[in-house]
Amino acid sequence: MEKVIEVKDLSFGYGERLVLENLNFSVERGDFVGIIGPNGSGKSTLIKLLLNIVKPLRGEINILGQSIEKFNCWSKIGYVSQKANSFNTAFPATVEEVVSANLYSKVGLFKRINKEHKNLVYDALKTVGMEDYKDKLIGNLSGGQQQRVFIARVLVSKPEIMFLDEPTVGIDARTEGALYCLLGKLNSEMGITIVMISHDIGAMTVHANKIACMTNKQIIINQNSKEFINSSLRDVYGYDVNLQVPRHFCENCCMKEGK
């Protein structure tokens, strides 16, 4: 399998405090990786490093076979941040305007979006089931619908890898189920590699094919299996974790429930 993300001896710190130390791991094309770990274990920092938002102290990151310093195909990388949950809901922007935004660098400075771009926006909204809402103000949608729009904004540029930082925060169980269903579809049907941070370990054990546990400045990544989860959770959290496997319900879709 092709390695789409490769990390070698990666270290990072804030000031004198080392957050990540000599990380080595890889993610293969088509993986759905769930990153779990306690607060402050460096999950969001790792994503920021993989997105080149922050620079490592030392080590090497390769994305789609290229060194991150030379990597310039950022349209192939999608990112749904934690901020998507806390944007200014009074911002007067329509769903279509928000999704179109991710095409702007492709369109180029001083140029306007054309019909072809509008079709791409429509297709992305259709994929997440939000095509009927394109003229609505983003702030007037529910949390789950807003999250779908932010996923559509990423999809519009046809990404190969998608990073999500706790996308299910603040949304109800049914909507959460639908969101996981959508991510599963993007992963299995469209072949998008997904790397997702979540505190919902139960849901991760259901939906991800690989689990990355982060603790003590390290990452342990393995195939999603009951044995690995059970042995890792005590190391990661320092106590026994009672795993709740959710029963997600999603209309128009068969959901994987409790492997």
């Binding site: 997105l51 938002i53 950022w74 941040s81 009074a90 007067p92 922007a93 305007e97 660098s105």
Partner: protein, 287 residues
């Protein structure tokens, strides 16, 4: 041009024709920039830059440099200063605005002590229609057109950065460059508007039309268009009233903007009330 209305008709006077033309330019520039400032939650930046531009006006009056050029240079320097200081206090970005505002007031205060003709400086505080020279007219029109064209050309990028700066950066939008250009545009808008509207009220013209437009707009594009329309209505009505009633133009324009905002809020509440009543009636009929 409007001979049938008599010589005293407002549009037959050359200085008023100039004032209206400049007013319309400001009505497009200020609210278009203002929408982004308001949505970035930087409403106070206008006050900060206008005080810096007052220092520039005073410096111009002392040194013999054209006051509008002085205001533009000081305003741009202040805008870049805000960006620099903001990086030094990333978690308290409003500190940078307060620092530049204080420095602007301080400099303006010190410089004003050296200005021989006090009336010249006062005319920049609340604006003046009559005092625009040919050179200033040409300068304001040129800079105004440059600002408007740049905003139109960078409209989509400005929207993306305002909505989600981090996502814009990841998507490959040159965020730093566009933010720099935007700060310069803001500074130029404030400096050139200060002649007609006045440095003490220009920040209101950035914020009030945008605040009104946000209440009723259904998209970002609509917000910008509506705020420009609100700006035009305020400036044209304000200039006309100030001419016939002998009022200070800057103050009149801003008061009209406030009235428009209050009317918009009343209209919005009225519509909301009517919609709520209709839904209640529908519910009752259903029961």
């Amino acid at each position: 041009m409007f001979a049938i209305f008599g010589e005293d008709f407002v549009l037959n006077l050359e200085f008023m024709q100039r004032a209206y033309l400049i007013g319309i330019l400001i009505a497009v520039m200020a609210p278009a920039i203002g929408v982004i400032i308001v949505l970035k939650r930087l409403s106070m930046i206008g006050d900060s830059l206008s005080h810096a531009s007052l220092a520039g006006v005073a410096f111009g009056l002392i040194s013999g440099l054209n006051p509008i050029i002085g205001a533009t240079v000081f305003s741009i320097a202040a805008a870049l200063g805000i960006e620099k200081i903001r990086r030094a206090f990333p978690k308290y970005s409003e500190i940078s605005i307060a620092v530049i505002l204080s420095a602007g007031i301080g400099l303006a205060g010190v410089f004003s002590g050296f200005v021989k003709n006090g009336f010249s400086l006062t005319s920049y505080l609340f604006g003046s229609i009559v005092a625009i020279s040919d050179f200033e007219f040409g300068l304001i029109v040129t800079l105004g057109i440059v600002v408007i064209l740049t905003v139109i050309l960078m409209f989509k990028e400005l929207f993306f950065i305002t909505f989600d700066e981090e996502a814009a950066q990841l998507a490959g939008v040159p965020v730093k460059g566009i933010n720099f250009i935007f700060m310069v545009l803001t500074a130029v808008t404030i400096a050139v508007s200060s002649r007609v509207v006045g440095v003490l009220v220009i920040s209101s013209l950035l914020v009030l039309p945008s605040a009104s437009a946000i209440q009723i707009a259904k998209s970002f594009k609509q917000t910008v268009v509506y705020s420009v329309l609100y700006g035009m209505l305020s400036i044209i009505t304000g200039l006309t009233l100030s001419f016939y009633l002998n009022l200070v133009p800057g103050g009149t324009i801003v008061l009209i903007s406030v009235v428009l905002l209050v009317l918009t809020l009343l209209y919005k509440n009225l519509v909301k009330g009517l919609l709520f009543r209709r839904v209640l009636n529908q519910e009752k009929t259903r029961v």
